[in-house]
Amino acid sequence: MRIASWAPVIVLLLLCAIISVINPNFLSFGNMVRISQSAMIPLVLGIGATFIIIMGSIDLSVEGVLTLAAVVLSMLVLNGENANDYGLFAVAAVLIVGAGVGFINGLINVRLKVPSFMTTLGTWFIGVGIANALLGGMATRINDPWIRGLAIERFWGFPWGVWVALLCLLIALIIQNYTRLGRHVYALGGGEELAALSGISVARVRIAAFTIAGVFYAVGGILAAAQLGLGNAQIGNGRLFTTITAVVVGGTSLSGGQGSVLQTVVGVLIVVVLSNGMVLMGVPPSVQIGVQGLMIIAAVALSINRKLMKIIK
C-alpha cells in the first residue's frame, strides 16, 4: 500500500524528468514561478474539494462559488465600474459569501437529504446565475493595488498569491490532522453508519466540511480575480474539471475515506506541470486534450491498483 500511495509522486517526478530532457528551460527559476502561479488557484480549490471527496461526497459548486466570489470582490474593491473601495472588508465579505454557499450546500444535503451531486450542481448554477445577474454579462476591471498585488507583487521571488495558497494548505493540514472535524471527515468517508453509531454528529460534520470547502473556493475566486485583474461571470469556466482531476490524480479515492490534502498538492502539480510541459514540448494543441484524457484514465487505474495492493496485503 505504501508504494502505491507514492505512485502520484513517482508520476510527477517522471513527468518533470521527461519535460526537462526535452526542454531544459522547464527547470529554470522563472518557470518554477510560473508553475506556482498556475498551481495556486487549482491548489486552493483542490484543498476544499479534498475534504468533500474524503467524506465520500462530491462538490460541483466549485465554479459557482469561485465565480460569485470573484464578481462580488470585483464590485466591492476599487474597480472600474462603481465608487466602492472596501479593500480588506471586501475580502472578508467574499469569504463569508463562500462560507454561506458552502453552508447552504451542507444544509440542503443534510436536511433535505438531496444527494451532494445534485445539491452542488444546483448551487453551481445559482452561483454563476447570481454573478451573471450582478454584472449583466459585463466584466469589471479591478484596480485595487492590494488585490492586483497578489498576482503581481512578489515575496522571495514568488507572487503573494502563491504564499496565500501555501497558507491555505497549512490551515487545511491543521484541520485535517489536528482537529476532531478532520478525523470525523475520514470517519464519514470510511463508513457513515459506523461513524454515526460511534456518536459522531454526521449532519454537523457534513455542514462544517461543505462550509470550509466554500471558504477555500472563495479564496480561489479572490486569486482568480487578482490574476486576471477582473471579475466576470465566466471566470470559473473549466475550473471544476481541473479541481476534481487534481484531487483524484493525487490519489484521493472518489469512494471516500482515503486521501489527503498533501496528495492533492501532488495531483495539482501533475495537472499543472503536464499542461505547462505540453506547451514547452511542442505537443500539438489538438493532441493536448487527448493527453489530459489519458491522464484521467491513468489516475483511475492507479487508484484501482492501490486497492488491489491492499487486498494482497
Binding site: R34, N132, G136, G137, M138, L230, I235, N237, L280, S286
Partner: protein, 365 residues
Amino acid sequence: MVRNIELGLGRPLKRRQLLKGAAAIAAVGMFPAIISRRGNAADMPTLVNSIRSLSNPYHATWNAGGAAFAKSVGAEYVTLVTEGNSEKGIADIKAILAKTGGNCAINIDPNDAPDARPIVEACKEAGAYVVTQWNKPVDLHPWDYNPNYVAHISFSGVPYGKAMAEALFKSMGGKGGIVALGGIESNVPAIERKAGLEQALKENPGIQLLDFQVANWSDTEALEKTNAWLTQFGDKIGGIWAANDGMGLAAIEALRADGRAGKVPVTGIDGIKLAVEAIQKGEMAGTVAWDPFWQGGMGLAIAFDAKTGVFDPAKESKDHREFYGTGVVITGENAQAYYDTNIKSEPTLDWKDIWGRASGQIQYN
C-alpha cells in the same frame, strides 16, 4: 448558434452555459419575456428584435440599437428573448405575427441555424418583413422568399483576423516573433480568424510564428498558455495575436506578472470595453468591434424600409440580400474617438444609410 454567441461574449455558447443562463433567470426572478414600448402611430408596423438574452453586453447593446431606431421613427418596439430555446424563439415570433396581423418588421438573431426557415416561412405567410443575422441554413436564401425575407447579415472573420495581425506586425516594426492564441478548433469564427492570421503571415516574411495554441476562448487557458510561452520563448516573443479580446486581455495579465505588460503588443477581436481601455493605455495594439448597436438598429431599419415601401427587396442585388457587415477596426489612433462615441455615450447612426456597411455577398464553401 456557436458563431453568434461567440462574437458576443468572446466564447462559444455551450450547453452548460445555456443551463447557467437559465439559472441566471431563475435567480433574478422572472424576466418579462416581452418588453414592449408604446409608439404613437397606430398603423405603423411594430418593430421586433428577437435575440438570445439581455444578460450579455453584446445583446444588451443590440437591444439598445433597436430601441434607438424605433424611437427615431416613432414605432412600437418589442424585444423577444429566446434564452437559448429555439422552440420559444419560434413560438414568440408566431405570437407576435398573430398579435400584429403581420404588420411588423422583424430583426432576428436565430437561436440556431435551422430556426430561420420556419420563422421566415411564418413571416412570409403573415406578410411581415424579416431580416436574419448570423444563423441560417446555407440553402435558405432571401431571394427565394420575395419580398418578405429582406436580407441576411453576417460577418467574416478572415479580413479582421488579418487586419489585427497587420496591426500587430506594424506595432512590432514589421519583424520579430509572435505567438497566437486561437479559439475552439472546430468553431467557425476561430477558423476564419486564424485563416486571416495565416494570410498576413504569408505576406510578412519578417514575422515568424513561434507557436499557435488553442485556448478555447478561455481567459484562464490563455493566461496559462502565455505563461508557458514566456518560459519557452522568453524575449523572442515580440507580439501576441489573440482570436478574441478575453484571451488577449488574459495574455496581458500574464505579461504583467512578468513585468512586461505594455512592452509586448497584443491584439484581440470583439471590441469589448476593457479591450478599448487597454488600447488607450497602450497595452493592446488593436481590436475589432462588431457594433451590435448597428446590428440591432440597422437590421430593423432594413426590414422597416422594405415593409413601408422605401425599397423593393426583390429589386435589390444579391450583395444587398445576403451580405457581410463591416467591423470597426480599433487601434491606438482611433481608440479615444471610438470610446467617446460608442462606449461613453450612445452612438448616433444614420438609419437612412441602410447599405453603408454591406461589404460583399456572403460566400459559402
